[in-house]
């Protein structure tokens, strides 16, 4: 495996300490730092985020909301549905809807021609300077009918050269198209890989269309697996960043996921995003109909934790809708329907976009400084050493604690310890507050969704939910309104462990939480 580990940066390197001095600034294009073959563990000091990732990798990912955990607070991506055809069948997909790989299941995106898609992207990018990434994703496989995908990219590059391009694929057609991909200068590719063992694959993929035939059973998965691995190796060899999506299916590939993680890591995958199977009978998928359940929050986290140290894990993926517009977790697509775009006078203003992006850079620096400052607060506290807790955060974006408890339809989850506040995921919930009145029936479901958390950080919260949360053992905290999230979480942690140390409260573990299945489709 010649290509192994080429641009691979390990999770620990990406997220942990800040040894600024260890940056290998002169890393050659598409090669990480001289690690080779085998386990592919990057051993040099390429460490997290802005200060210490190799410059060429950071350049590629820094403004991509799907790749950089920091960027998803500030930058937006957009998907267009131009390629609805698919060349395989997945048991978690009902092809009447979007591709479940990259989109929210059970949703239909508006299909666009490449011309319409480019017009839409340019209109959105002119209006929303945060929009830095265009992806072609579901419904369908972006490479099953590659002409539409590549036409879109080519036209867009002519009109808006600063927008980055990415695509997602099941990998079957990938090896044949890698050179084409490189021609269009697409530097992010997502491949959905659910298995590296065709026997397991046979439980996930009923058939593929290959060499003019429909192929079923283990044979189908064997071909798919070989194409996926080959495609990944080829992309790595050409210096293209790759994200691997895996759908976690309890009882089918959960115990196997660590093997998937190893295999993709060894082939140079940059990020591994393990996401929960979303399976409801009304989606009409095979898994929905056979009653195959999705994982609980704890099951998902256990697998993600087991894969730490493999390819970088990505935990902020929201399985966003394919035609969503906005920051991850928000959707402005209503403002950009086809009719409205037809009427718009679109002026593509590169300068305005640059100015915005410079402002964001300054904000990110401040965010980083606040975190460093907060980390100092737990120093010297003995009780803090052994404690690691989850906290839920209500935010509207910008990396701050700035949302009212009652307005949150999603909480970000951070794992906090003395050394760091690590983003580990998000939970969708039903809005507690609808039309200004608290809905008491919604509260138990919100408690269930964040039941594994010790605290919930909000900008404000009413008296009623406050008491209920306390009763359930979750501490409602509004003392850090408008602070940067990491700073707020670490400050709360210092306060909490201080109380534990003084014997005011006893620290106890919390239970499991449930992943809210319907919340993904409620708005559809």
């Amino acid at each position: 495996m010649e290509s192994a580990a080429a641009s691979y940066v390990s999770l620990a390197d990406l997220k942990s300490s800040h040894n600024v001095l260890a940056t290998p600034a002169e890393a050659p294009a598409h090669v990480g730092c001289g690690t080779s073959g085998g386990e592919g563990k990057a051993s040099c000091g390429t460490s997290a985020g802005p200060d210490d990732m190799p410059a060429h990798v950071w350049d590629k990912v820094k403004n991509h909301p799907c790749y950089s955990e920091e960027a998803h607070h500030h930058y937006a991506r957009m998907h267009v549905a131009v390629a609805p055809a698919c060349n395989i069948q997945c048991n978690y997909c009902n092809r009447k809807y979007d591709c479940s790989n990259e989109s929210r299941p059970g949703v239909v995106s508006q299909k666009l021609t490449p011309e319409q898609a480019v017009k839409k992207v340019v209109a959105v990018a002119s209006e929303i300077p945060q929009m830095t990434v265009l992806g072609v994703a579901g419904p369908g496989d972006s490479l099953a009918n590659p002409k539409k995908t590549f036409d879109t990219f080519r036209m867009l590059q002519e009109q808006a050269p600063d927008i980055k391009l990415c695509l997602s694929t099941n990998g079957l057609a990938l090896p044949d198209l890698v050179d084409e991909i490189c021609k269009y200068n697409i530097d992010h590719v997502t491949i959905t890989i659910n298995m590296v063992d065709p026997e397991i694959g046979a439980k996930i993929y009923p058939w593929i269309f290959w060499d003019h035939k429909r192929i079923t059973g283990v044979e189908a998965s064997r071909i798919l697996h070989e194409q996926q691995m080959k495609g990944l190796e080829m992309l790595t060899a050409r210096g293209v960043l790759t994200k691997i999506n895996s759908v976690l299916i309890p009882g089918i590939n959960d115990a196997h996921m660590i093997e998937v993680n190893k295999a993709v890591k060894a082939r140079g995958a940059f990020l591994h995003n393990i996401m929960p199977l979303i399976s409801e009978a009304e989606h009409g998928t095979v898994f929905g109909l056979t009653g195959q359940r999705g994982p609980t929050a704890q099951e998902l986290k256990a697998v993600q934790d087991a894969c730490m140290g493999g390819a970088n894990l990505m935990r902020h993926c929201r399985q966003c809708r394919a035609d969503a517009v906005g920051l991850l977790g928000e959707d402005r697509s209503e403002e950009f329907t086809l009719d409205k775009i037809e009427e718009m006078e679109v002026v593509y203003d590169l300068d305005r976009r640059r100015t915005y992006q410079e402002r964001v850079e300054a904000e990110r620096q401040a965010q980083h400084a606040a975190k460093v400052e907060a980390l100092a607060a737990t120093e010297g506290n003995e009780a803090a050493k052994d404690i690691k807790v989850l906290v839920a955060v209500a935010t509207t974006g910008g990396g701050r604690v700035n949302q009212h408890f009652g307005h949150a339809d999603e909480f970000q989850i951070f794992e906090v310890s003395a050394g760091e506040a690590l983003f580990v995921g998000h939970r969708r919930v039903d809005l507690y507050c609808q039309g200004g009145y608290g809905e008491d029936e919604q509260l138990p479901s919100i408690v269930n969704a964040i039941n594994d958390c010790h605290a919930v950080l909000v900008s404000k919260i009413g008296a009623c939910p406050r008491d209920e949360l306390k009763g359930a053992g979750i501490e409602p905290v509004d003392a850090y309104a408008d602070e940067f999230i990491e700073k707020a979480a670490l400050s709360w942690f210092a306060d909490y462990t201080g109380r534990v140390a003084r014997g005011e409260i006893a620290h106890a573990e919390r239970g499991d939480a449930s992943i809210r299945q319907g919340a993904f489709t409620a708005a559809a």
Partner: protein, 69 residues
């Protein structure tokens, strides 16, 4: 000798269109239709009708005759 796409089953996914060796398939109001004059059921080109093999929906593409009957 031709196949026919059952309109209320077709999702409009377009997967069948580029696979047809005779360019018999085209888009019509977001769905796809087969031109019976061009369709050969793939005889002479492939072992199985390509559109059927790639279509994600069971029984979406059937022989024209069973329709008439």
């Amino acid at each position: 000798m031709s196949l026919k796409i059952i309109a209320n089953l077709c999702t409009g996914c377009s997967a069948c269109e580029p696979e047809c060796p005779n360019e018999a398939i085209s888009e019509l109001k977001n769905l796809f239709v087969i031109d019976p004059d061009k369709c050969t059921e793939c005889e002479g080109d492939y072992d199985t009708p390509q559109c059927v093999a790639v279509c994600p929906i069971d029984d979406c593409i059937l022989p024209l005759q069973t329709q008439a009957a």
